[in-house]
């Protein structure tokens, strides 16, 4: 069974080498989508043995993942692992996610709410994630605990049935669409500590726009997908 790991990254020169090296212990084919980095992310990822595809412009995590899915699907893979380049996701959990996917699930989500790691997050962030998860569960008849998690494993044939991701705020939209298309979704416990190196892509603007994007995405999925 062929598996490809997709890592969206932007300005992750401090962590990307180690992330790629550790991911390659479990998945040989690693694709890093460098989303308009201005540092040495591309070079560091290449040194670690990843295939690097560089966006000329920074367009957001969703755009990077879209390119990653495209490349992975072109390579006729069976499973796609999606993991962040900042070490927030532990590559050692890859076999657990993959195993669940191989057991017949279309999408496996690594959840930080199935273990105590979420307690280290700020109250605002925790409440936001819980609220969006509640919305996803309500509208998609789901029972997930962490809809915003970016640590995921997909069955490639299922991922190909989903619409292209938006450039930003992709997680809720993708999960809701998967639920609407009756895909089998499973969660596994994954510890996600708060990042120690580099800068988070989530700034005040991202948080401020989240409610608006959420309304847009709910309308999009419920009415047009």
């Amino acid at each position: 069974m062929k598996t490809i790991a997709v890592i969206p990254a932007r300005n992750e020169e401090q962590t990307i080498h180690d992330v790629v090296t550790r991911v390659r212990k479990y998945v040989k084919d690693v694709v890093v989508i460098d989303d308009g980095s201005t540092d040495l992310t591309r070079a560091r990822a290449q040194e670690a043995g990843a295939t690097v595809i560089s966006h000329p412009l920074n367009r957001g995590v969703g755009a990077a993942q879209r390119t990653g899915y495209r490349v992975a699907l072109q390579k006729k893979t069976d499973y796609i692992i999606q993991i962040d380049g900042d070490f927030q996701h532990d590559p050692e959990c890859i076999p657990t996610l993959l195993e669940q996917c191989q057991n017949g699930y279309d999408m496996v989500i690594g959840s930080r709410f199935l273990n105590p790691s979420h307690r280290r997050y700020t109250v605002t962030r925790r409440s936001g994630i819980k609220f969006f998860t509640w919305v996803a569960n309500l509208l998609g008849s789901l029972t997930v605990t962490d809809v915003t998690s970016g640590f995921r494993c997909y069955r490639a044939s299922a991922l190909a049935r989903l619409s292209p991701l938006p450039d930003r705020h992709w997680a809720l939209e993708q999960t809701l669409e998967a639920a609407k298309k009756n895909m089998k979704i499973k969660e596994v416990s994954v510890e996600m500590p708060v990042r120690e190196k580099g800068l988070s892509q989530f700034d005040v603007k991202t948080y401020a726009l989240y409610p608006f994007r959420m309304v847009e995405c709910v309308i999009k999925v419920l009415l047009f997908r």
């Binding site: 690097v52 000329p56 412009l57 755009a63 490349v71």
Partner: protein, 113 residues
């Protein structure tokens, strides 16, 4: 009597007409845009040169004053223009994203040949 607002409206109308004519002459504007802005310019000129047109319009639309009529029409027009600009902006943003992805993938394929 000619008021300052009439002069300002007249000058703005004249500016729209001249500017859109010059832009299309330099091939920097579409004919459709020229038409929209020249209609707006001509309307402003008409309303400032023949104020009675505004009064007739106000009476027809059941709006109390000429000024309110002009404001109401201007707001509707601005809504239309903003809506069109917003759609265009969204569409261009999507196209930039697609091109960004295409360039990244093609560049990677070229580098690996």
């Amino acid at each position: 009597m000619v008021s300052i607002i009439n002069v300002a409206g007249f000058l703005l109308g004249l500016y729209f007409l001249l500017r859109s004519y010059l832009l299309i002459k330099k091939k920097r504007e579409e004919v459709a845009d020229f038409l929209v802005w020249s209609i707006i310019g001509a309307s402003l000129l008409l309303l400032t040169l023949v104020p009675q047109v505004g009064d007739t319009l106000a009476e027809y639309l059941d709006i109390r004053t000429r000024a309110s009529t002009i404001f109401a029409l201007a707001i509707f027009l601005l809504y239309l223009i903003i809506f069109r600009m917003n759609m265009l902006n969204r569409s261009l943003d999507r196209q930039i994203s697609v091109l960004n992805e295409e360039i990244a993938v093609l560049k990677h394929e070229l580098e690996n040949r």
